[in-house]
Amino acid sequence: MIAIVKYNAGNIGSVKNALHRLNCSCVITDDPKELQAADKVIFPGVGEAQSAMEYLKKHQLVDTIKGLTNPVLGICLGLQLMCSHSEENDTECLGIFKNRIRLFPSTDIVPHMGWNNFDSLRSQLFRGVKTKDDVYFVHSYYAERSQYTIATANYILPFSAALQRDNFYAVQFHPEKSAGIGGQILTNFLSL
């Protein structure tokens, strides 16, 4: 069973739909036991960092998520919340990745919205994915690159398109909205 972390962020239904299209059943839950017992956990989200962190604290999800030992996939805001700090309303985040989340400089259109490719792919998450393949991004804040970076995308500047540390994986783009390539990446995660 796949568990999707239930919290006050949008887009959770899209991930559920994507899993159903891959014939995969899932439960949307904020119950620590269900999250710990799941085969895999997906931590999705579209929204604002500070209110999301407040919700996670209030529902005792901070330690639960940090303590998970099953494979976890953060998506978009999920990735940002898994980092140490976000410039979005100066928010302390989970700190699974020691990356900082910064606002894109406004030298080009912000948000970074649309299909973009990535490179320096180094993870089983990208099996069958090529650097010229495009995935769908929508974000105004980005994760700086670090030792955990497993894919780099370029928009205004190079940033982490994906991160990994041990069982924790995270992608800045939306695999659930990235057509066949996104489906491939989700399938790769599900078969870890």
Partner: protein, 250 residues
């Protein structure tokens, strides 16, 4: 590199695609879900659904339709038509829409843009702007282009950006339906003046028109309806052509 987006638009009335659809390989060309899936397979980067009935009575039918679309397709989509309140937008987002577009209601009550951005984030908020060259000025029109407003298009677009719009869908009424090409001048004027994505709409009649708008304006996407529905331009051919011409395309 960020790619330019090709966006088919489906007009929906009473749950069916209208404006005519002429796809030989579709069993039911009026079914928006079937048509949407076909476009996704052909490589559409995003879809826009405009519900032109959008009355209170068909609210539930509409919710059901958005849910069906969300379950069926794996690319982002915008839903619009008759959005008057944050509650209207919430229903659409909860049903699975990635973005909601507002038009007339935003002109009547601009604070709706700010409220939606606050509630769902700017990335969910598309402001559709219908514009017509009136004398020397591009002006904003509402209610399906029937009513003039006192707003100059450039000023209105700057204002909606300030209020928190995440994207502008700019339709030139002078060009819409002519198949003579997008309105390059006003599209570029808006794209240069705001720092949010601008989608060009109205006037696309062939592949060259997309090349023109992407070459001569900073529009990040091009939207069209009937040329795709009638198969006059296939998305596969269009994207292949634009790539050959050096336009960044998925």
């Amino acid at each position: 590199m960020l790619k330019k987006r090709i966006i088919p638009c489906l007009d929906i009335k009473d749950g069916r695609t209208v404006k005519g659809v002429n796809f030989v390989d579709l069993r039911d060309a009026g079914d928006p879900v079937a048509l949407a899936k076909t476009y996704v397979e052909q490589g559409a980067d995003e879809l826009v659904f405009l519900d032109i009935t959008a009355t209170l009575e068909n609210r539930n039918a509409r919710k059901g339709m958005i849910e069906k679309i969300a379950a069926a397709i794996n690319i982002p989509f915008t839903v619009g038509g008759g959005v008057r309140s944050v509650e209207d937008a919430r229903m659409m987002i909860q049903a699975g829409a990635d973005k909601v577009s507002v038009n007339s209601a935003a002109v009547k009550q601009p604070e709706l843009i700010a409220e939606m951005a606050q509630e769902f984030g700017s990335q969910c908020v598309v402001v559709a702007v219908d514009t017509k060259l009136t004398g020397d000025n591009w002006m904003v029109y509402v209610n399906g282009g029937r009513n003039a407003t006192p707003h100059k298009t450039l000023d209105w677009c700057k204002k909606v950006e300030q209020l928190g719009a995440g994207e502008i869908l700019l339709t030139s009424m002078n060009n819409d339906g002519t198949k003579k090409g997008f309105a390059i001048d006003i599209t570029q004027a808006i794209a240069a003046a705001v720092n949010i994505p601008v989608i060009a709409s109205g006037g696309a009649g062939n592949k060259e028109h997309f090349k023109e708008i992407f070459t001569h304006s900073q529009a990040t996407g091009g939207l069209a309806a009937s040329i795709f529905h009638f198969g006059e331009v296939s998305i596969i051919d269009l994207k292949h052509y634009l790539k050959e011409k050096g336009i960044p395309i998925r």
